[in-house]
Amino acid sequence: MGVLNRVAGSKLVARLGVKAPVDRALYHATRTGFTAANRTFAATKKLTKPSRLPSAGDSGVFDLTPTEEQRMIAETVREFAAEQVRPAAAAADDKCTPPPDLLRTAASLGITLVGVPESLDGVATERSTVTNVLVAEALAHGDLGLAVACLAPAAVSNALVLWGNETQQATYLPAFTGDDVPAAALAIAEPMPLFDPMSLRTKAYRTPGGFTLTGEKSLVPLASSAELFVVAADLEGRGPALFVIESSTAGLSVDPEPAMGLRAAATGRLALSRVSVPESALLGSTESYVDCVRLSRLAWCALAVGTGAAVLEYVTGYVNDRVAFGEPVSHRQGVAFKVADIGTELDGMRLLTYRAASRAEQGKPYAREVALARKLCAAKGMAIGSDGVQLLGGHGFVKEHPVERWYRDLRAIGLMEGAVLV
């Protein structure tokens, strides 16, 4: 019931809806260092072993009905997305930064808590990749860029729950279950063509006290305000691994890296120049890194589904209202069949995403299902984004309508790695 109590309370918070204007110039100024007044991450209680969520049960029944709890959570997030996220999206895109209040409201909804076990002051009793997918989908229905901004800290807390040892969990997770959830980001992507997360240019070398990392990470959400990063690096040529790095660590610097889309997520490029971290920074194993890549891709699929649904709704209304040659343009097959194809492909994208998520939470092999969901969501998601603009004609090309933003955002689905995680 924890989530629901929080949800009830946060609805009040949400209604206050204060919008803080952010100076665009501030974002575009190249800086090293961080805007965040960094907190000190320290364990207040000691854990004897890491807390892991058990796999979800296998009902053995084919079923497309979410549980009652999932239905309520998704509905709450959808309401938040409609009332708070969508109205803030255009300005956030323009300013390349999310409204801080919005992130606070999202955190107070319990977005990070959903994946953290009860024993670590979260609300989860078992793995629920499906719940995380439903949350991401609902948020992206509001706006994809803002969804990434809202979900970025949860990527880090989920990674700590899934692969963190007892010290890492005790040190970092309390901040994510408290009232002031820190900005945080999972940094995997690197600026290079044909980037493959399985072979990284960012390198980590062992030192007497721990590791030294050097390299560059691309399109890191909330990069300049993040207090904590989980960074992927190749460990001494033996394959990729994850490292927990506090943003105050010497040798880290951030440049703004605005892109075609996802602008509301305040993406930045993170440079690591001989960054020294202690032994305790290593998170999980190479095996868990592969899981991290898969679960991150799955989150991007969920985002594509949510935004795709937003496109479908928007164009449906538009083509029914828009009159040409004496009748609504939706009376023409050339228009109507595009809408039909959006509906068909979108439903397929959703089912592939759900299947991969349900397999993941049940502890079944899911590499194939994630790969296929990603392939479909990348191709069809982009096609939906493109048709969304096309169906509005010239009106789709101007910022009066959100479809041009969705076009830019949906291009990210097939190429992004990291940043979000379910």
Partner: protein, 401 residues
């Protein structure tokens, strides 16, 4: 709880269907592709086996499309629609033409099971029923059919011409769509069970086709064919508001089945292509980005993703039917996606495999010929798009033509 795996209680059935497909259909696949219009006698054994399964309630019989109402503990039903869909996929992985030629598993059987009354269901139990809708001048526009049914005492007298009747010659009876009154449009269209040996029910010819050659396609002429009034399926009254909906309702149950056939063929082609690509040294890696893999592997991933979408959309439509949820939209999603994907997948598999794919030593070229019909019968791609668009946009057939 969201779970999209084959239900535990159906894994045995799927396994059995797969084995039957492997033992009875695959080995005869090429034989009846070449010997068009020859009755595949090997099917008799399999048909008897299927009858047995149906009788025991566990099989993939065409009677299975009747809507069930039994729930499980969670209230979620995994019933006859889902098992029939899964069974159909496996059988068509074996051979779609042979499945369509399966005795007593015709579309007419599905129609009788879906809209017939208990007496009719009992009367035609164990019979092989084909379905006759299309006419020389009427394809997708089934509301415009010209075959007439005129009441004469205890009988109806049927006159007209029917084409594209699957297994029409081999079946025991044919479910014929005819109008009671052309002036009253769609509402006056009813379906009648016509026994094959009825006088005046004349076979004109069998078609020569691009694919599914194991399945015969008949052309009939009906010349004063007298059928008992009790052979009319559903209500004899002409209800302007819902008459046509009755016969069209069959499609909500049969479209997922055609989608399932398409999925079966597509999976056969993908499995074979993967085997050949692996032999050629192309590995498909699910974790590395497609952009960093060989073009053949990237193509394969794209095709497999389309297959997966077809497969899940089809199971969704069947699951909704099992659970009494209206599924017209999802049935058309499944049919539209599976029809176009199966055609695309099989054709591109042929391309990937080169002359091996194109030649008759392997079955890839055959599957790409068989697949095309899946995007045509039970409503073409364009008809599915119309249905979907009307639903999504809230348009009538008068507004969105």
């Amino acid at each position: 709880m969201i779970n999209l795996e084959v239900p535990r209680k159906m894994t045995t059935l799927v396994d059995q269907a797969r084995q039957a497909a492997m033992a009875f259909l695959r080995p005869n696949s090429r034989k009846y592709d070449q010997a068009e219009h020859t009755y595949p006698e090997e099917l008799d054994t399999l048909a008897a086996l299927l009858d047995g399964l149906s009788a025991s309630g566990g099989g993939a019989g065409a009677g299975g499309v009747r809507r069930s109402s039994r729930g499980s503990k969670s209230g979620v039903v995994n019933g006859a629609n889902l098992s029939l869909t899964l069974g159909t996929m496996e059988m068509c992985w074996g051979d779609a033409g042979l499945l369509l030629a399966m005795p007593r598993q015709g579309l007419g059987n599905a129609a009788i099971a879906s809209v017939g009354d208990d007496d009719q269901v009992a009367r035609y139990k164990g019979k092989w029923a084909a379905m006759a809708i299309t006419e020389p001048d009427t394809g997708s526009d089934s509301g415009a059919i010209r075959t007439t049914a005129t009441r004469d005492g205890d009988h109806y007298v049927l006159n007209g011409e029917k084409i594209f009747v699957t297994s029409g010659e081999r079946a025991d009876c044919v479910v014929v769509w005819a109008t009671l009154d052309r002036a009253q449009g769609k509402a006056a269209i009813k379906s009648f069970v016509v026994d094959r040996d009825t006088p005046g029910f004349e076979l004109v010819r069998l078609e020569h086709k691009l694919g599914i050659r194991a399945s015969d396609t008949a052309h009939f002429r009906l010349d004063n064919v007298r059928v008992p009034a009790s052979n009319l399926l559903g209500s004899p009254e002409i209800k302007p508001d819902q008459g046509f909906a009755g016969v069209m309702q069959t499609f909500d149950n049969t479209r997922p089945l055609v989608a399932a056939m398409a999925c079966g063929i597509a999976r056969a082609a993908l499995e074979e292509t993967r085997r050949l690509l692996t032999e050629a040294g192309v590995e498909i890696d699910y974790d590395r980005p497609a952009t960093t893999q060989p073009a053949a592997a990237a193509t394969f991933l794209e095709l497999e993703a389309d297959y997966e979408a077809s497969y899940l959309l089809t199971l969704q439509a069947a699951w909704m039917a099992d659970n009494g949820k209206p599924n017209s939209l999802q049935a058309s999603y499944a049919k539209a996606k599976s029809g176009r994907s199966a055609t695309d997948i099989t054709l591109r598999c042929v391309e990937l495999c080169g002359t091996i794919g194109y030649g008759e030593h392997e079955l890839l070229e055959k599957w790409s010929r068989d697949a095309k019909i899946m995007d045509i019968f039970e409503g073409t791609q364009q008809i599915q798009q119309l249905i979907i668009a009307r639903r999504l946009l809230g348009k009538t057939s008068a507004e969105l033509k």
